[in-house]
Amino acid sequence: MVSFKKPDLDSFQERIHIATLFVTFCFLLLVTRLVWLQLVSHGKYALLAESNRIALVPAPANRGLLIDRNGIVIGRNYSALTLDVNAEEVKGNVDQLISDLSEIIDISPRDRRNFKRSLEDSRNMGTFPLRSMLNEAETARFMANRYRFPGVEIRARSFREYPYNELASHLIGYIGRVSQKDKERMQAEIEGAKADDPDALQASFLPGIQYVGKIGLEQSYETVLRGVPGYDQVEITAGGKPVRTLSSAPSVPGKNVVLSVDIKLQYLVEQLYGNFRGAFVAIEPETGDVLAFVSKPNFNPNDFVEGIDSVTWKELNDSPQKPLYNRPLKGIYPPGSTYKPFMALAALENKKRTPSQTISDPGYFDFGNHTFRDDKKGGHGIVDMQKSIVESCDTYYYMLARDMGVNMMHDFMKPLGFGQITGIDLQGEARGVLPSTEWKKNTFKKPEQQKWYEGETISLGIGQGYNAFTILQLAHAMANVANNGVVMKPHLVKAIEDPFTRNRVLTTPKESYRIDLNAENIEVIKKAMLEVNVSGTSAAAFKGTGYQVGGKTGTAQVFSLNSKEYKHGSTAEFLRDHALYIAFAPADKPTIVIAMVVENAGFGAQYAAPIARKALDFYIEGKWPKEIPEWKRAP
């Protein structure tokens, strides 16, 4: 008790009290803090914890099928094992990784190139296939060595496949990996989606989509085909490692797209073209269904799905044959003599000619100081309207053009669809040129070029001059006449099919508009065109048909594709005339019209009409030409 000194103890007790107060204050501070965090801000932090731990992993939907009008599948999916590499985990050591992997799995230089390109394209985001279609041995070898390759895994993936390869490639198009540009477009789609829009959810998962349609129907029906991507709610660690799946929203597969195209007809025509280049469009006039949409030569869309290799790409791009060029959609050609029936109809409708009114053809037509020649030396003699079509008399149409003038021709041809966008369900359609004084004024810069010269009117009558149309437009115009002036929008897809219920919703549009044409006048033209195949220019090609078919040949001077210069080496061949042909059949109630061009082939009667004949024989009578290999349904 010696050490117990009262003053000291008091002082100490006092300080203990103060310390207790201090401690109490500090604890109250902590309690306040915890109440703030756990009661007041609980909602906010609960939300943060939730978003912390949950990641939405998109699950791509199965892409819809492409089916022809008879149920033949021309675009489908298959599942295969692929070696997927997570770009983020690789971080630059791509070459090392690939050489390590190639010790156990065969990786071709092409695989390597494609993979590296995908990496660059996508700026190192996401998972990319390095090798697809792994076989069992490779899968086993990889699984045994898996620990060596973090970020690499084997996955079953769905691939797009075009079972008929080149067939109908230009109309089908292809899908490919999403590019930065696609992503930006999708981002715009997301931003454009309204909150109350049921499609907004779909839009919000667009970033998870890895493949999109690049051209053709795959592109224009992308939103129908792709379906609604699903997603898994996955619990992830701070490092982003998935721990478990909390819930998943299943993806809704894309809808099937049912084409109006008859793929067998398409196949036949493509075969009939052989090595010739050209475009062929067949339309059902009553509906606007496109029955065949051929662009030759074509390419194999399967090459593009997983990224095309540079060698094939260079070949396709550099080829003077322009296999990537969608000729019926973008190629513009002078219609040549196939224009004459339309000119004749214009003359009747505008009362510039009667069917029986004749001209005398000496074999040429002088206008100003220029002589326009007929292709028949000595001329066709006395020519009425029917004869002008059957024998393809140029002089008749030189004179007609002069009598009508450019603007009257323009005003008649425009509603028929010449030089107009038809609105077909493919992107990138060319407009072509349907000349008028107005058009010339707007097109050229210098005043002397803007003036229309009367002499320029004359050759328009025989489908030359400034006239430049797509084969699609020509077929469309033919269909409009065959359909007695009722204009149906041409389309490649006729229905959207639900993949489960198989219910089809027709997309076939109603008529676009109606051209007020006199039925008698149309009859005159049709009758003349029927005669073309009996005693006229294409009589030989259509000898002995079991149905009545109207047609018109055309031979157009080359004016080149899209006015681009061809390479010097191949000039000779590429300067030859284009062979054109239009047709409708059967005569009383046409179920098919055709417009076609065989590039640099020569006379329409000789090169184009026989193809049209065989196509019609098949479509109308089911006759398959002996020389063409039989259609085999893809397994």
């Binding site: 050490s3 100490f12 401690v23 803090r33 932090y45 912390n52 701070a238």
Partner: protein
């Protein structure tokens, strides 16, 4: 007649626990239990073994028991030696210590030890001894001597650098000096300065934390740490990440918590050091505000009890020592919870008896043992 084995066991336990403060013992058992259950959840999916935690807890209680048997007189006699040894080891560390992660804190003497840990106990021991020696003849300059005794090891530890430990050792010494009667007129200006300083930092935080502002006397990373505390979102993926994630854990726990083993923040590895320094975040997330209030009550009663024991201690040495040890417990708990909940900067301070870690548990057991010893020997001395 033979005594039954049960009675024998009972008698044995009585002899073991004789003189131990029951209240303090129960509080510590409660904390240890909380620590163990939290550890089970926090250590899931980590290589840390339950056996290790049990061994550490047992070791801590064993040390406590042994120290509780040591008369305070012995501690008083050993104080200078322990302090001297601690300073000598710190000098040895400065001369040829091991460098890990850029800091020279460890000494290899067969086993690797961290001498600054010794100072946590040695400092209050030494100062309490000093003031005991000067009792009754105390002069103003005694505080100067005390300051030197305090400054030497703090300086050595701060230089390692180990600012967290240096501050704790400094706090431990400061408690003794203040409790020994440091005049208020010397204390209050510093308290005032501190309060003003903290207020200034809070008010002008965004200005002085601007990138190009250089603080005097402070390393850039230390400035960064304080600035991050003021606004954790300023560096969400860097220094602020830990604080933000532990705040999310605590806040998302709500009132009742997510339940034992149900904390997503902890189990999905968002909480750093989740079984050591940040274990409180795990506990908070799983047991909520309710659990926190219980835990804080446990700590508060621990401190109350420790202070009560000190207040009734027999001499100045034991009073100062007991109070200082108690306030170290408080400092640990306050700084740890304050840091995990984003109230204080992140410094490496464990939560007493809850955090995993052998050294800390042994140190804490030693401290608790001192309190037990003071309590146990109180009556003996007084009577």
């Amino acid at each position: 007649m033979e005594k039954s084995p049960l009675i024998k066991v009972k008698a044995f336990f009585f002899s073991i626990f004789a003189g131990l403060d029951r209240q303090l013992g129960l509080i510590l058992l409660g904390l240890a239990a909380v620590g163990f259950f939290t550890f089970l959840s926090a250590s899931q999916n980590t290589p840390v073994q339950i056996a290790d935690e049990l061994r550490n807890l047992a070791l801590s209680f064993a040390v406590m028991w042994i120290v509780s048997r040591i008369p305070p007189k012995w501690l008083e006699m050993g104080a200078v030696w322990i302090y001297g040894l601690g300073v000598a080891l710190l000098i040895a560390v400065a001369a040829f210590g091991l460098i890990k992660k850029g800091a020279r804190r460890w000494l290899n003497i067969g086993v690797v030890i961290q001498p600054s840990e010794i100072m946590k106990i040695a400092m209050p021991l030494m100062l309490a001894w000093y003031f005991q020696k000067r009792e009754g003849i105390q002069k103003s300059w005694d505080y100067g001597v005390a300051a030197i005794i305090l400054a030497i090891p703090v300086f050595l530890i701060a230089r390692q650098p180990d600012l967290g430990t240096a501050l704790l050792v400094f706090a431990a010494g400061l408690y003794v000096i203040i409790l020994a009667g440091l005049p208020w007129k010397w204390i209050l200006p510093f308290v005032g300065l501190g309060v003003v300083g903290i207020l200034l930092i809070i008010i002008f935080g965004s200005t002085i934390c601007a990138h190009d502002v250089v603080w005097p006397f402070v390393h850039n990373y230390q400035k960064h740490r304080i600035c991050t505390l003021l606004d954790p979102t300023s560096d969400p993926l860097g220094k602020g990440f830990h604080t933000i994630q532990s705040m999310i854990a605590i806040g998302s726990g709500g009132f009742f918590g997510k339940g034992w083993f149900q904390g997503t923040q902890a189990h999905l590895e968002f909480i750093p050091e989740k079984h050591t320094d940040f274990v409180f975040a795990v506990f908070s997330e799983e047991f909520g505000l309710l659990g926190n209030l219980v835990l804080l009550a446990l700590f508060f009663s621990l401190i109350k009890r420790g202070l009560a024991i000190s207040a009734s201690a027999p001499n100045l040495f034991t009073r100062l020592l007991g109070a200082a040890v108690t306030l170290i417990f408080f400092t640990y708990a306050f700084v740890n919870i304050g840091m995990v909940s984003g109230l204080l900067p992140v410094v490496g301070v464990p939560l007493p008896f809850i955090s995993y870690g052998g050294t800390a548990l042994v140190t804490l057991g030693f401290g608790a043992g001192i309190l037990m010893s003071i309590h146990r020997h109180r009556r003996l001395v007084q009577s």
